[in-house]
């Protein structure tokens, strides 16, 4: 049995072999040395009809404790924000879904204009001049920023705040040997980064990356951190929560050179960690050093407006070993989900989103009788200190149908008793009451 994705009939096949001038399929493969031909069937599971396939994957899906089964307060980088229904309406249109990178702009004005609009909203959110068409995720864009900084400043020292998402720091460290980077990490003081300590570390650095809000949910003194970086001659890079930018200041407004972040919270499902989109925006002077695709406006033969992939001389397919990156695939469809969601929210909706998250954090802080791990204002996550290891709290709470959050001890030494609880706008006060009850029960 063969999947119904192949179109040739037996007669087609015969006619085509004849037109080619060979007598069998085997002849087509004569160019493959016999020694490296596979002389047996692939040892893979048998084919399934669509009905069977559907059932098989439904069964696998049912083995996962997803948001509809368990009341979850997990966050730590990926969040259960509401994705408006029109996102799928747009993304599932075949013209967007089944298109390749828009190499031929006259065939691809739809996606090109959409990317141009995406670049615009990212610039608006971040206060930057130029955005690329998206990066793989919110962590790899940090490596991209390091690449820009290395080539712009000629300095190889990278300063990372410890309050950044640990996975971001891991990704940068993985890329570091190839890029020739040297990483310095700045510890936190009471949940946020001390600007003076950062200033000291930034001496001689090409780039300083700090989060806003940070991995512990706390608001950093971001303007002071940016200034510390600038004073050291390093590029100031803010890694921001995209959902916060209706209420928190745009990185461009406090002097950052580059703003990066994970876009998932705006328009993408959680999807066990991907695919999502990372955003990367910068001041205009970095435009020719930016990795990834960039769409620009131009005119056609008639003088009418149109859009094209531009500044391609940065890119691998033209510049090859001198390219700003090796990226070809980006995350266009996911970033389109972001654009649609931002259009749906509008400026008022984005502000409301941030306000509701903050309001829920405030409500939770009152209802949950566990001490805050850090005495700092929070945006949408609360780090709580637990009387028993946070992992044990999680295990016990999950048995009661509630996933209370992320155990910071998974990444951060000395924080085994800290639970990071995320509050998106989808969590209701009643659900927070339930969480509070469960935590009271399992922590007593």
């Amino acid at each position: 049995m063969t999947a119904g994705y192949l179109s040739l009939t037996e007669r087609d096949r015969e006619e085509m072999l004849e037109a080619i001038g060979v007598s069998s399929m085997e002849e087509l493969f004569a160019q493959i040395p016999a020694a490296v031909r596979l002389d047996r069937e692939l040892d893979v599971p048998p084919a399934l009809t669509e009905a069977e396939l559907f059932r098989h994957l439904e069964e696998l899906a049912a083995k996962n404790a997803h948001a509809g089964v368990e009341l979850s307060f997990l966050g730590a980088g990926i969040y259960d924000h509401y994705v408006p229904a029109i996102v799928d309406t747009v993304l599932q249109r075949g013209e967007f879904l089944t298109a390749y990178t828009p190499y031929q702009p006259e065939m691809s004005q739809g996606v090109l204009q959409a990317i141009f609009e995406y670049q615009t909203v990212i610039c608006e959110l971040t206060g930057m001049d130029v955005s690329n068409a998206s990066g793989y995720d919110g962590f790899t864009v940090a490596a991209d920023a390091c690449f820009i900084a290395k080539h712009h400043t000629g300095r190889s020292k990278v300063v990372l705040c410890e309050t950044l998402n640990p996975q971001l720091r891991q990704v940068v460290k993985t890329y570091a040997p190839g890029f020739g980077l040297e990483i310095v990490e700045v510890p936190h003081d009471g949940g946020t980064t001390d600007p003076e300590r950062l200033a000291a570390a930034a001496v001689g650095a090409g780039i300083v990356i700090f989060p806003q809000p940070n991995f512990f949910g706390c608001l950093e003194p971001a303007p002071d951190l940016a200034q510390a970086a600038k004073e050291a001659g390093a590029l100031a890079v803010a890694h921001v929560d995209i959902t916060s930018l209706g209420v928190l200041e745009a990185p461009g407004a406090y002097g950052c050179d580059i703003a990066i972040g994970e876009g998932q919270g705006i328009g993408n499902a959680q999807s066990y960690g991907g695919p999502h989109y990372g955003f990367l925006a910068a001041r205009s002077e970095f435009i020719r050093r930016m990795p990834g695709r960039i769409v620009g406006e131009t005119t056609d033969l008639n003088g009418d407006r149109g859009f094209v992939l531009t500044l391609q001389t940065r890119e691998q397919h033209i510049r090859r070993e001198k390219a700003t990156s090796n990226m070809t695939t980006n995350q266009t469809l996911l970033s389109l989900g972001g654009l649609v969601t931002l259009a749906w929210l509008g400026p008022q909706g984005l502000r409301e989103l941030g306000e509701t998250c903050m309001a829920l954090v405030g409500y939770a802080a009152e209802r949950i009788h566990l001490p805050a791990a850090f005495d700092r204002p929070a945006f949408k996550e609360l780090a709580l200190r637990t009387p028993i290891p946070a992992r044990d709290v999680i295990r016990a709470a999950r048995e009661r149908g509630v996933h209370p959050g992320y155990a910071l001890g998974r990444d951060v030494e000395g924080m085994d008793d800290v639970l990071l609880v995320a509050f998106t706008e989808k969590r209701t006060p009643a659900e927070i009451d339930r969480l509070a009850g469960v935590l009271a029960e399992v922590c007593s």
Binding site: V36, L219, P221, G274, S284, E321, A343
Partner: protein, 491 residues
Amino acid sequence: MELIFEKSQAGRRAGRVPSYGLPVPEVPAGLARSTPPRLPELAENEIVRHFTNLADRNFGIDTGFYPLGSCTMKYNPRVNEKLAALPGFANLHPHQEDEGAQGALELMWELQQILAEVAGLPAVTLQPAAGSQGELTGLMLMRAYFNDRGEGGRRDTIITADTAHGTNPASVTMAGFRLEKVATTERGNLDLDDLRAKVNERTAGLMLTNPSTLGLFDENIVEVAEIFHDAGALLYYDGANLNAVVGISRPGDMGFDIVHYNLHKTFSQPHGGGGPGGGPVAVRDALEPFLPSPQVVRDGDVFRLDHDRPKSIGRVRGFAGPFGVFVRSYAFMRAYGPELRAMSETAVLNANYLLARLKDAYELPYDRLCMHEFVLSARRLKREHGITALDVAKRLMDYDIHPPTVYFPLVVPEALMIEPTETEPKERLDAFVDVMLRIAAEAADAPELLKDAPHERPVRRLDEVKAAKEPIVKHGFGDAAREGALRAAGR
């Protein structure tokens, strides 16, 4: 067509966010947003129309024939979209404890098994986000491997073919290696003499696409592998063209040590106008310890993410990879089963049929049977009528056909790189042949039709030079001064 910002009206709204009647805390002084972002303000009706109208200005596989060489634009089964959207997959948090994610982990583990079998290599990481990141990962693995053997400083060179995708040299640089190129023979194979001259104790490895970007299987692949292995170097298989050989010939059997897959090419993840993709990497046992962390492993009937990988190169992206892509690719593989071989056979048959029918009207620089794609040259049209490959490409648009890849590989002048894939029926192939022959005739009879093409698209031919010279990369909101500044800076 208007930009969405040009349809915006202050105060208009679509979505609203629940407030639950709670008081909103103040943002600390100095951290609060000072100017609202100028996001579009539209009601839902006009948002849907805007993107519907944009979609109508875009061409996908669902619209028609898309023989974009090296991009493997095959039909994307719709059932896979439904499967990836199942709440148990789409709404699963990546930090969910392993015992709460057994279905996801099982799917990933099964996917690894199938990928390993297809590559003929035992160990697979699913983490890389795309083929290009898979390349980088592969090169990092080489570095880690040689470092572990104490050869790290010495092995600093990677060899690529002159026909290689641009990603290969770019990845080499990003991974901190030196690049050396090897020539292609007139038959389209690697030049073994050139290769022998260049492979030495500084060589870390080879990066090769096989079949090559010419659509040709390297007939000397066994010798090539020997040369590298004899020198203690490794072979990296760029899986961009894997669609030619699934179930027919396995990279591991050819001698490759590291392989990346493009899940959005071979295994049908829709490419979405540029992404997402997936770039898993398979390796031989000797390289397994260096694979990124975490790895999906199986302990009896239980699956888990293994973070305890002391020799790992680390993490190349977040979490365990683009899981939604895995769902689609796994479903695709399960729809075929062992008949994945028929997929590749049909892709090769389709390509050879087109080649046979087009090679007289266009030039075929490497005149052999091809694999899943082939490269024609429009140089005769250029010489005789002043018509370039680009003109042919633009004219195809008027016939509702997406152009092939043009001007690549670089070794072929006026290249037209054609990959029909296995999902096209013969009628589409015949229609494409008819159009290509008609265009060849038009080049002689009415060259201006081609020079001015396209005529039937939403826009006429676009000025790419202008776009690059004075980059306008976001909407100006009528703020000319600010835009001017950007243009100046961009220059």
